[in-house]
Symmetry: C2
């Protein structure tokens, strides 16, 4: 390690003239790419706007009070500490100079510009939530992409039970106990199940005026069934399990409007309906982040309808063999936006660079090996699809447990998750219920204006 210069040269591990590889993003794709380059004579710079790798498949457990944010994240620097040829830079990539081969980023806090030169670029920037052109829904219906999102959802969900307790009428109380979830993919299904379990198992006995058991969870999706990507049989099992759990399924239904306390939908037959709901959560669509548009502008790369970048079979952009795009932000053969695709494509891109640097011929085509997917529905119930294998119920749940323990980053997170899950499953214990803003203004983000004392509402008397 050299500490001589004021600005690190990226020349740690390999020699100063080593090829420079910049990886944008420290998610599943970026981390796999960095790992694939371990020991290669290149100088890798991994740039991310967050300092942590996030294990996104368990984000819903952070949102519903089972796991802490520290249990589903790992500091990128710690994960990569022994990768001597990798340096981590916390900065947000804002643009690309494809001619000079420089990534342009800004540092946190002082917004100072950082330019990082590359010989190879691996873009693993992920996706953000899409509201299909209805950006006005965002503050009313938070998405589930980041730790901040999960903590917002935690406050909204647990806060709704608090509001129900001091509601002025039975109608208002039921509204606060009604949760509308938009999107019936794995995240939506998992959140729906967890909210019902939270209400019926964890919170029982804690309230005096309201009954958490009265909690309604409405799950909306434009498609025919929840977890459609898992195939007809598992999708049917999931639908039945969700109904057993008390989740109300509204399939073939599109959201047309969201207001405070209300969601408006239109069914496939054209009929419209309003549902009162104290909390609305959104897991329905994805959009490429701004960096994808910047990349497309700089390179002329094509993008799909969600803004994802089109790549060739070898995951490079047309005309730019030095730029790889991997993971969710990559548009290739309708591959699903799952961790497994990100990991395999990130690893592939890293290996390609490794081979090219070593003077070996790179592979011509990325092949995705579908190892399957799994979704947790409730305690003792999960669905898992892996090629010809389709598991559901308890068998699916046990498989889900093993997979998630095996893939969670860091030995300590694995040990912690096992202990925490054991307590959650045997005692309905959810330790992580703290409100991270810790005070009455915690839901003010739903408001156009902060609540003001002078504007007190109807005035509930309690005496």
């Amino acid at each position: 390690m050299s500490h001589g210069g004021a600005v690190p040269s990226g020349g740690n591990g390999p020699g100063a003239g080593a090829p420079r590889v910049v990886i944008i993003g420290g998610g599943f794709g970026g981390l796999a790419a960095a790992r694939a380059l371990r020991g290669s004579p290149v100088a890798v710079t991994l740039v991310d706007r967050a300092p942590d790798h996030l294990f996104q498949p368990l984000l819903y457990q952070c949102a519903t009070g089972i796991l802490s944010e520290g249990q589903i994240t790992a500091p990128l620097r710690k994960v990569l500490a022994r990768h001597r040829n990798v340096e981590v830079v916390m900065a947000e990539v804002t643009g690309l100079d494809a001619g000079r081969r420089e990534v342009i980023a800004r540092r946190p806090l002082d917004a100072g510009e950082v330019r990082i030169g590359y010989d190879y670029l691996i873009v693993a920037a992920g996706v953000s939530q899409s509201y299909f052109g209805h950006e006005e829904f965002a503050p009313l219906a938070p998405g589930m992409k980041s730790i901040a999102d999960a903590l917002t959802i935690r406050r909204r969900v647990l806060g709704a039970f608090e509001m129900a307790e001091t509601a002025a009428s039975a109608g208002e109380r039921q509204r606060w106990l009604t949760f509308a979830l938009v999107g019936a993919g794995p995240t939506g299904v998992e959140l729906a199940g967890q909210i019902r379990e939270l209400a019926t198992r964890t919170l029982g006995g804690e309230y005096r005026a309201s009954r958490p058991e009265d909690t309604r969870v409405l799950l909306f999706d434009g498609g025919d069934a929840p977890l459609a990507s898992f195939g007809r049989r598992l999708s049917g099992v999931a639908a039945a399990s969700l109904r057993d759990l008390g989740v109300e399924l509204h399939m073939r239904t599109r959201v047309t409007g969201i207001d405070r306390g209300e969601i408006q939908v239109r069914a496939a037959d054209g009929s419209t309906r309003r549902h009162e709901a104290g909390v609305v959560l959104w897991t329905a669509g994805v959009a490429a982040p701004p960096v994808a548009a910047a990349l497309a502008r700089a390179t002329g790369a094509a993008t799909d309808e969600a803004g994802r970048i089109a790549v060739g079979d070898d995951l490079t952009i047309a005309g730019h063999p030095e730029i790889y795009v991997v993971g969710d932000v990559m548009s290739l053969r309708q591959l699903p936006g799952v961790a497994e695709v990100a990991m395999q494509s990130g690893w592939f891109a890293g290996r390609q660079v490794r081979r090219r640097v070593a003077g070996q011929r790179p592979a011509r085509r990325f092949r995705y090996l579908d190892l399957g997917s799994a979704a947790y529905i409730s305690r003792g119930r999960a669905v898992l699809s892996a090629g010809p294998v389709a598991l559901s119920g308890f068998a699916g749940w046990v498989a889900w447990l093993f997979i998630h323990i095996a893939f969670l980053t860091g030995y300590r997170n694995r040990a912690g998750a096992i202990l925490t899950w054991w307590l959650a499953f045997t005692r309905d214990s959810r330790r992580e219920r703290a409100f991270t803003t810790g005070q009455v203004g915690y839901l003010a983000d739903v408001y156009d204006r902060p609540p003001a004392l002078a504007e007190g509402g109807a005035g509930v008397r309690r005496d």
Copy 2:
């Protein structure tokens, strides 16, 4: 339990005509008061703006990545679930109608007014951070009173190491690695020790350009020595331990100004000095919360210089035998603002009400039994003072461990803390390093305006 009315009457457990006791605040004092009333034929309403009881003595461990927020909090409803005569209301108390004996509060989210009638009132509202008239310091030097504060400090401290890594010059790098702490009471001393331990033990090997070992921690206090309240001998031991750990003590020094990246101080001899520091943290003073002023206005109660409410020997306000004030917000005989005072005075007030309701004569005078205090300095070192007993070094540390495990609320938090501490002490592991805002704007709260892309700074080149 009755769920009939739209508005809970507080008549759970006891009969509908039972005396109504309102407790403001769910900290150590309020919780002790509620517990002292267990089984008494009264209807208790505990009002807090947060839904969680916070174990404040361990807040610094949440701020420095050892414990999660869920490990140092317990939902008030869960703690009190079996207290059938207690209901919990999440609302912020904004005023008092002493004539009608009503507490006025506002609900979260819709700012609706709630009025809660009382026959007995126990005020346990705690204190907030005081900047001694320099409110402009607050955004530049966060305090340590809430979970939100701890998470802000976590982001600032860990974020500073990130900024150091991409610093444009050696001077800027050292500035980011310099932490200025104002206030050398237990919280300031514990934070100082933890930041040095974090830098020298946890972060080693993770950075390429900067060296966390170069971290400087400056501790400022107007008094003669750190932990002055522990007595001369322990205070001296603490000072020596802190110096061993690499903390630079600046005693008899007052802060005169704080700017971005800088703190200005004046020593006892009148000399002034500027210190560059990337992060400034404030644990120096306390001020009564707004509810104390509202209470004083409504009752004519006297307040001390920090706004705390003066009480008589039986902890009631002069002329209002139905209003008790306990814990940090109580001004009585110079009692220190520690958890033990809050617990004992809260318990006393609860017992007084209990006796009066039962027709028994209440005690005339609250007597505080000083069980001692303890402060953690570094792994294997703590100081503990308990009457004639003064422990330091390893013996103090073992005593510290047992006391904190014994008093932590909830069996699960105790079990989790033991495991977490074991890993932290044996492997320097700090699991809770996640940034709860999760992105580049995480430190924008220091700014008057959010960082804008177009305003990029000096422009650090990295190629």
